[in-house]
Symmetry: C2
Subunit: 253 residues, 2 copies
DNA sequence: CGTAGGGTTGAGAGGTCTCAAAGCGAGTGG
DNA sequence: CCACTCGCTTTGAGACCTCTCAACCCTACG
C-alpha cells in the first residue's frame, strides 16, 4: 500500500525547480545545489518522516503535496497542514530528534531532506536563509491559526469554503490555478481530515456549494470557483488579508 | 476595560526570573539582561501586540499568562495557544512586520519584547539561542497540533481533558501544580475559546468530570486531578509521550 | 443594597455523525 | 471485450452531540 521511496531522484528533477517560489527568487547559491543533492522521489502515501523519527532540520518540497498529520490511536486523523511545492517544513519537534507530526506524501512527490549540519553550514554562507525560514514558518503558522479558528468556531460550510480559498490562493502563488480553476489531489476523506469533518459531510457540503452556484466540482476534486466573493463571505475571510497573511508574498485574486 | 501598559517594569521584576525554564538553565549571558531591559508589566486583558501590528522578533513571557488568539469579524474567538511564564513567542507572521495573531495578556503579566535587531545581535553572541528557539517553537507547534487533532476529531470531554492535562504538565514544568493541583486563570468562556466549545458546554463537561470523580474544580478554576489515568484515557493521550512532545524538557507526572 | 460578571442548569433546536445502500470509474484478469 | 473488484462518491435516515436562549444563583465590589 505504501511503496516507500520509489528511487533516487532522476536528473529530470531539476526541471521541477521551475516552480516559482519565495526562495527561487532569493539569490541563495547553495540552496538549489543542496536540494538537488538531497532530493528523492516518494510515492503517494509513503511516509517521509514517521511520527517519532529523528528529523532533518529542513524538508524542502520540490514537487507534489505533503501532508503533516497527527492521529489518535483509533486511527482518527487530523491533517494539520498541507505543504505545496516550493514550501519548506521546519521545526518538527520540541527536541531536534523527535517529530511531533507525521510527514506523508499525499501525491507522488520530490522532496529534499536537509540534515541539520548541512543546514547550519548553508545558513552560515547565506544569512538570508534565516529570513526565508522566518517567512515560511510564519506563513505556516498563520495558515494553521486561520484554520484552527474555523475548526473551533466555524460551520462545515465555512471550513470547506476556507480550505478551498486557501488552497486556491496558495496554488495561484506557485503559478497554478489561474482563473480560479485547480485540482486538489485529496479524496473527500482527506479533505475531511483537513477540515475536521466526516467524508460524508464533506460530500454534502461540496454539493450544496455546487447547487448554489458558488463552485463547480468535476471528477475527483477539479474545483472551479464561480463566485469567489460569495465563497469568501461564507468562509468569512477577507481575500486580500488572507493572501498577505498566509503567503510569503502575494497578490490578491 | 483594557488598561494598556500599567507601567515600566519595577526592579522587583527580577525576582520573577526565578521561574525555572529551559533558557534559565542555558548559559546565555546576554539574554537575562536583554529581558530585564525590555520587560514591561501588562494588565490582564491588555493587548501586547495587536493583530496586524509590527511585531518584535521575540516575545519573552517572564510572568503571567499570555493568549495567542484569532477572531472572526463577529467576535467568535479561538485561543490558538497559551504562553506560560518562561516561554517565548516567535515568528508571529509571514512577513516580519505583520502579526497573524492577537497577543493578549490573560492575567497581569511581565513581558519583554525584543526587537529584531537586538535579537540578531544576541544570536551572534550566543549561537545556543538558535537551539532554544527551535526547542520552544517546536514545542509550541507540537502543542497546537495535538490540540488541533482533538478540535477536529474529539468530543468535548476529550478536548477538556486534554487541555487540563496539557496545562497541568506545563505548569509542573515551571514548578507549579505539583500534586496535580493548580489554578487556571481562565474563565469558562476562555477555556471554551481554547477548546472550541461554548462556555455553557465547558461548564457541563467540567461538572460531568467532577461527578465522575476524575477531577475536582473549586472556585474559579482551581483544578485538582484526582484520577489522572482516567483523565488521560478520556483525553486519549499517553502522558509520557505528551510530556516529551510539548515540553522542551520533561519528566512524566 | 444594587450591579456586574461569572457559573449553573434546563429545554429545545440544529448541525454533524454513523450506518447503510447504491452508483460510478478505473484497473485487472479471464 | 467483458465481468469483477476496489476505492471513492453520493444519498437517505436516524441518532447524538453541542449550541442557543433563558433563567437563576453566587460572589465581589462599589
Amino acid at each position: 500500500m505504501c511503496p516507500a521511496v520509489l528511487k533516487a531522484a532522476p536528473p529530470t528533477l531539476t526541471q521541477q525547480f521551475e516552480v516559482q517560489t519565495a526562495w527561487s527568487r532569493l539569490a541563495v547559491d547553495g540552496l538549489p545545489a543542496a536540494i538537488r543533492q538531497n532530493a528523492r522521489l516518494f510515492g503517494s502515501g509513503s511516509q517521509i518522516v514517521h511520527e517519532g523519527d529523528e528529523v532533518p532540520a529542513v524538508i524542502c518540497v520540490v514537487g507534489g503535496w505533503i501532508g503533516l498529520s497527527k492521529s489518535l490511536d483509533d486511527g482518527e486523523t487530523q491533517l494539520v497542514d498541507l505543504i505545496l511545492p516550493g514550501e519548506f517544513i521546519f521545526a518538527l519537534g520540541a527536541d531536534r530528534f523527535t517529530s511531533a507530526l507525521q510527514v506523508e506524501a499525499i501525491t507522488d512527490c520530490v522532496v529534499a531532506t536537509i540534515p541539520s549540519a548541512q543546514w547550519t553550514q548553508l545558513k552560515m554562507a547565506t544569512p538570508e536563509l534565516e529570513s526565508l525560514r522566518q517567512a515560511l514558518s510564519g506563513a505556516s503558522r498563520a495558515r494553521i491559526a486561520e484554520r484552527m479558528l474555523r475548526l473551533g468556531r466555524g460551520s462545515a460550510e465555512m471550513r470547506i469554503a476556507h480550505a478551498l480559498l486557501e488552497l486556491c490562493l496558495r496554488l495561484r502563488a506557485i503559478g497554478d490555478g489561474a482563473d480560479r480553476t485547480f485540482h486538489i489531489p485529496l479524496t473527500q476523506q482527506q479533505l475531511g481530515e483537513f477540515t475536521g469533518l466526516s467524508s460524508v459531510h464533506v460530500c454534502r457540503t461540496l454539493r450544496r456549494l455546487e447547487r448554489n452556484g458558488i463552485i463547480d466540482v468535476a471528477d475527483h476534486m477539479d474545483v472551479r470557483v464561480i463566485n469567489s466573493a460569495r465563497l469568501a463571505e461564507i468562509a468569512k475571510v477577507d481575500l486580500n488579508h488572507l493572501c498577505e497573511e498566509i503567503l510569503p508574498d502575494c497578490e490578491p485574486m
